[in-house]
């Protein structure tokens, strides 16, 4: 057997193993979705939930949706929340992969690059001081502010980085600086806020939560996340090439600068649109790519989809626990995400001998 065909056989074997891993995580995600829809502070459980969902999805099949209150609980409260958790987890994980990939740095997340600080500042401006970029749309004042300021933060990062040529180092350093700037301004708002209640409200927003999930918010977030994920996916091969070094990338015809700017823009857009609705849920973007890398290696064509389904799993798990542990009260999801994510992450880190980051 020639070496070439032996290599190809090994490659295909590895490829199949990776696809299998991704499919298994997807299956786990489906199971968690079913469990999550069946549990909550309200009384409806598995049977009622399935009936309501089937009757709404396939009205012509004649399923009995049950009493109105059950329909409201399942279809207006629990299901939108589960769906938003899946979308948000997936989107945050995808943006984590994109940023770590193009900046070739394992510690990078949209959070270290100042996006979350921008969002937090924007939200605090609206919550504590009532200053909004839009004033017409009631509940969306905070959302719009968070979105606009996180995009603004990223534009500032890009503008500063450009002065020294767009390289991973310049982007990261500019991001850290902008992040500190917005953090300081956020603290300033909390310090001068006219009410203690306002300070608390800002803190709770920063801790993150999905309790305000509605179909309306999903309709806004979903298209952005889907399109951006697809576009990031198209750059996965470029990210593979870039990991071999800038000279190699250039010789193959990949324009590193362009890829960095494109992927950063997409990752920012995704993160900003999610975080504006959910508050700062930091851990997912950092940790999902790492866990996925430990499981299936760093080929971005597989790493990205793997990370996406894993991120959805993690956030949905965290949010379901956040709803259940102190029932009927809830815990901010940001706390739970880190509490369950860290042990899982450490377990994988300590139980494998391979080197995951090169």
């Amino acid at each position: 057997m020639s070496t070439a065909s032996e290599l190809k056989r090994l490659y295909l074997k590895g490829k199949n193993r990776k696809i299998l891993a991704i499919l298994s995580i997807f299956l786990v995600l489906l199971i968690i979705i079913v469990i999550s829809v069946s549990l909550g502070a309200g009384s409806p459980r598995f049977n009622e939930a399935i009936q309501v969902i089937l009757s709404k999805l396939f009205p012509f099949l004649g399923f009995d949706p049950g009493p109105q209150i059950t329909q409201t609980i399942i279809f207006e409260i629990r299901l939108p929340r589960v769906v938003l958790a899946v979308i948000a987890g997936a989107g945050l994980a995808a943006s984590g992969v994109a940023m770590q990939g193009v900046l070739k740095n394992p510690l990078v997340s949209p959070y270290i690059l100042g996006i979350s600080s921008g969002a937090g500042f924007g939200a605090a401006l609206a919550i504590a001081l009532g200053i909004g970029v839009v004033t017409q749309y009631g509940g969306y004042i905070v959302v719009a502010n968070a979105f606009v300021f996180s995009i603004l933060a990223m534009l500032m990062v890009y503008g500063i980085a450009r002065l020294r040529g767009v390289t991973p180092e310049s982007v990261i350093l500019a991001g850290v600086a902008v992040g500190y700037l917005f953090s300081a301004m956020l603290s300033l708002i909390q310090f001068i806020a006219p009410e203690h209640a306002a300070v608390r409200a800002v803190v709770f927003w920063l801790l993150g939560g999905l309790s305000t999930a509605t179909w309306e918010s999903i309709l806004i977030v979903l298209p952005i996340v889907l399109v951006a994920m697809a576009l990031i996916m198209r750059h996965s091969w470029d990210m593979n090439v870039m990991s071999l070094g800038e000279e190699v990338a250039m010789s193959i015809g990949v324009n590193s600068k362009q890829v960095i700017v494109m992927c950063m823009a997409l990752a920012t857009l995704v993160t900003a649109s999610i975080v504006s609705f959910t508050g700062v849920i930091g851990f997912i973007c950092l940790v999902s790519p790492h866990i996925s890398r430990m499981m299936i290696g760093s080929d971005h064509r597989f790493l990205l989809p793997c990370s996406i389904v894993l991120g959805a799993c993690l956030l949905l798990c965290a949010d379901t626990l956040a709803r259940l542990v102190l029932m009927p009260s809830e815990v901010p999801v940001g706390i739970v995400t880190a509490l369950i994510g860290v042990p899982f992450f450490l377990y994988l880190l300590l139980s494998r001998r391979r080197q995951f980051w090169h």
């Binding site: 909550g40 502070a41 309200g42 009384s43 109105q68 209150i69 409201t72 609980i73 207006e76 409260i77 629990r78 919550i127 504590a128 001081l129 009532g130 009631g138 509940g139 001068i192 806020a193 006219p194 009410e195 203690h196 209640a197 306002a198 608390r200 409200a201 709770f204 939560g209 309790s211 305000t212 509605t214 179909w215 709803r323 102190l326 029932m327 009927p328 009260s329 809830e330 815990v331 901010p332």
Partner: protein
């Protein structure tokens, strides 16, 4: 000569002593922290950094004795001319504060032990109080003594107690099954108050039943599906300064609740029993808040009561100004 006065307010003892041969007279009161504070009377210069106290001091006719304040002490309007010595009790500027040469500093729990000691070391007595139930009447009584305005203090306490008694009299025969269930929401969506806490006590005194469960968290974020299933008869949302103060701010908060899909099936939303109330009348002017709530919970029992009119009278009588702004909606 030592005169011991047994307080008519019950929970504490106080001693008024006047030393033979000297002009010095002191009043000793026990504050919330359990410290006996000896204050030389008459007090002429007060720095008040307890937002709960300013309305009481002014109602006792001693507003002109306040020489320094925190940023929250904004009513009555004359306060705007008084210099600010700190954002709140958490962060007083001691240099500014002591420069005003106060005879007495009134602060709330935010004042830490070090700052209290520094002020006391400078020879200025410090009283720490939250000016909240269950110590509210005690606090008013204490201030009455210190400010030599016992009559006014009694009048003020009588006003409070008159309306508190009126409400409790009228709802005492209401069966617990007739008491509407309420969901109380303060500054953020789904954040409520657990039974036994300060907000809850007021709403229960007004004849409602809290849907929130007992629990370890004082202001729990309730699950929306839990609220939907509990099906509250009335929803009360608190408005704070950060929401705005004009009628539009009240409407916006009410509309937000009416339009939440999770609440669409509740009796409160279906019957339009969603009310917004300003926090000022839930804390400082508690009887006014109590009357609004009682009327919302039991409209037929309080048909003859007009909380806004009583509020206007109160402001007229104790502060001598006209009531301005919105306090409850609709």
């Amino acid at each position: 000569m030592l005169i011991i006065v047994v307080s008519s307010y019950g929970v504490y003892r106080l001693y008024v002593s006047s030393e033979n041969g000297s002009q010095k007279e002191t009043v000793t009161v026990v504050d919330q922290t359990g410290v006996s504070v000896e204050v030389e009377v008459p007090v002429e210069r007060i720095v008040n950094i307890a937002p709960g106290a300013v309305e009481i001091i002014c109602a006792l006719g001693c507003g002109d004795k306040i020489v320094g304040r925190d940023t929250y002490s904004t009513f009555p309007p004359s306060m705007s001319e008084i210099p600010i010595v700190g954002e709140s009790s958490f962060s007083p500027n001691l240099e500014l504060l002591l420069e005003l040469k106060p005879d007495l500093v009134i602060a709330d729990e935010g004042l830490d032990a070090e700052n209290r000691k520094k002020i006391e070391d400078a020879g200025v007595p410090v009283i720490i109080e939250m000016f909240m139930e269950p110590r509210l009447t005690t606090c008013i009584g204490n201030l009455g003594l210190i400010l030599n305005a016992e009559e006014k203090a009694d009048e003020f306490i009588d006003f409070y107690e008159y309306y508190e008694n009126l409400v409790s009299e009228r709802i005492k025969d209401v069966a617990s099954t007739e008491k509407p269930s309420f969901y109380f929401e303060w500054y953020m969506p789904w954040y409520s108050t657990r039974p036994g806490d300060s907000w809850d006590e007021l709403l229960v005194a007004a004849g409602g039943t809290n849907i929130a469960p007992e629990g370890p968290i004082s202001d729990p974020q309730l699950s929306p599906e839990f609220i939907a299933e509990q099906n509250p008869d009335v929803i009360v949302r608190m408005l704070t300064r950060m929401d705005g103060e004009d009628i539009a701010a009240f409407q916006a908060l009410r509309d937000d609740i009416l339009n939440r899909p999770a609440l669409s099936e509740t009796t409160a939303v279906k019957e339009g029993k969603v009310f917004v109330i300003k926090n000022a009348v839930l804390v400082l002017r508690r009887p006014i808040g109590l009357l609004y709530l009682a009327k919302w919970f039991h409209p037929s029992l309080f048909e003859d009561i007009d909380p806004t009119a009583i509020h206007e009278q109160m402001i007229q009588k104790f502060f001598g100004v006209e009531l301005e702004g919105v306090y409850a909606y609709p």
